[in-house]
């Protein structure tokens, strides 16, 4: 059983994309300070798919927001490609739950949102490409209020991909979907990832989801959050969710977090 081990880069990846060093985040309000993240050290290679799991409210979203440049660390650094992160940047796009989609724009409007620097014709080509890629063909003129939860999520992913970022940060993107749609969306996400190899950091509280998707799973403790364990998932895609190796890895994480094995 793997536990608290040294990070091994998967063979087909090269180069460190994201580097987190001694990251501490402390929130102060009215004189009271709460340590949310403590001594986080993490390295993510280019093209890697990393999942952050942990109990609700432990600080995974805070970590993601810090990586994205929306929060400043109290101490420590976050660097991408060697450059320290100082604020949000279109090279690393956040995907929230489907409510992040802009309700006043159509599907086309949303996907084209970040493309304001392109010429009109080029923009249309890009939009059409991503509409097709996420399977929203025929809905170009629909408004988000007319779409289902899964479709809105796909729209948000398309919007993120359209600007061709290096990295994607996903914060519990499938959280509001029913479990059947979630299952399908995981497959979709992997399909898209294998076409356009972005570096992905994915936050979830669903351990199965993490083990199904990630190259590595970072297990975080409750607040103040530290990295308890980094588990390498060495099963190639597509992963059989009944295989012994899958169950072994998943149970290991369940045990690490301290969850009952029998319900």
């Amino acid at each position: 059983m793997s536990s608290g081990e040294v990070i091994i880069s998967p063979p087909h990846m090269v180069g460190t994309k994201l580097q987190v060093e001694n990251l501490n985040v402390i929130f102060t309000r009215d004189g009271k300070s709460t340590a949310v993240l403590q001594d986080i050290n993490l390295e993510v290679s280019e093209g890697e798919f990393v999942c952050l799991v942990g109990p609700s409210g432990c600080g995974k979203s805070t970590l993601l927001n810090t990586l994205g440049g929306f929060l400043s660390p109290t101490s420590g650094t976050v660097s991408i490609d060697g450059e320290v992160v100082r604020g949000p940047d279109p090279r690393r796009i956040f995907v929230f739950q489907e409510r992040g989609v802009f309700p006043w724009l159509t599907v086309e409007g949303n996907i084209g949102f970040g493309l304001f620097k392109l010429a009109h014709s080029e923009r249309q080509v890009r939009i059409a490409h991503y509409v097709k890629m996420v399977g929203l063909g025929g809905f170009e003129d629909a408004y988000p209020s007319e779409l289902s939860g899964g479709m809105k999520q796909r729209l948000e992913v398309a919007r993120a991909l359209a600007v061709n970022p290096d990295m994607l940060y996903l914060d519990e993107p499938f959280g509001a979907l029913d479990s059947i749609t979630r299952h399908t969306m995981r497959g979709e996400l992997l399909r898209i990832w294998e076409t356009e190899r972005k570096t992905i950091v994915f936050v979830t509280h669903d351990i199965d989801e993490a083990v199904q998707l990630a190259d590595r799973v970072v297990v975080m403790s409750a607040r103040p959050a530290v990295i308890q364990q980094i588990v390498k998932i060495d099963i190639p895609h597509p992963r059989d969710i009944s295989s012994p190796r899958y169950l072994e890895l998943r149970d290991g994480i369940l045990q690490q977090i301290g969850l009952a094995h029998k319900i």
Binding site: G87, D89, I93, F94, F96, R99, G100, F102, W104, S145
Partner: protein, 258 residues
Amino acid sequence: MNPLAEPNKWERLLWPMLASALLLVLWHYAVLWSGTKVLPSPLQVERGMLELLYKNVLWQDIGSSLRRVAIGFGAATALGIPLGLILGWYPAANQIVNPVMQILRPISPIAWIPVAIILFGVGDNAAVFLIFLGAFFPIVVACVNGVSNVPLFYRRAGRNFGLMPAQLLTRVVFPAALPQIIIGLRMALGIAWLVVVAAEMVAVDSGLGYLVIDARNSGKRYDLVVAAMITIGVVGLALDSGFRRLEAIKSIRWGFGK
């Protein structure tokens, strides 16, 4: 009739018409049986209305009132929305200006009449100024609330895509706040309509408000008074309904829930 059953579409017309008919009948017989002189009967009012229409007075007055509302409300929108957006965007600015607004807001525009007359003299401009005052504060408040209620992740998404603050305001914050702003505009329009009638009763000599006062003063024509009142109600309702159409536009309708 099953009280729990979903009403049919035609019932939307049926019930109000029944209720109106009932009201008219009650009104008519109340006047008839009490032999009262202080309330005109529906028939008298109807005749009065036709008289006004025939003499072309009604349309002119409606036009005057609408014109004043258009100018006053337009000015309030043109000044109020930018101010409201700025105050909503910079909480510090709002904190400074808000107390002044909270003191000025409860002062009825009618109370401003003496000041308005000093500044603008008796006439149209004073009336328009009062309408402006009445509409201005609700519009600013609605904009401030709209902007501050824009969810954080919309703004973060905008910044994420590399938008500069000015672009953020126009491409994310304003569209996101628009439903609330439109509601505020509709309420302000309702207020403007109330103020114009009141202002016309005091400061000018045309318009529906003036018609109400004049009908009574020159001849105690209470049938005309009531006819004018009903016109005021109907036009006001038409303005409100027209605005609600705006709220149905797809890129705004999302803000009103199911």
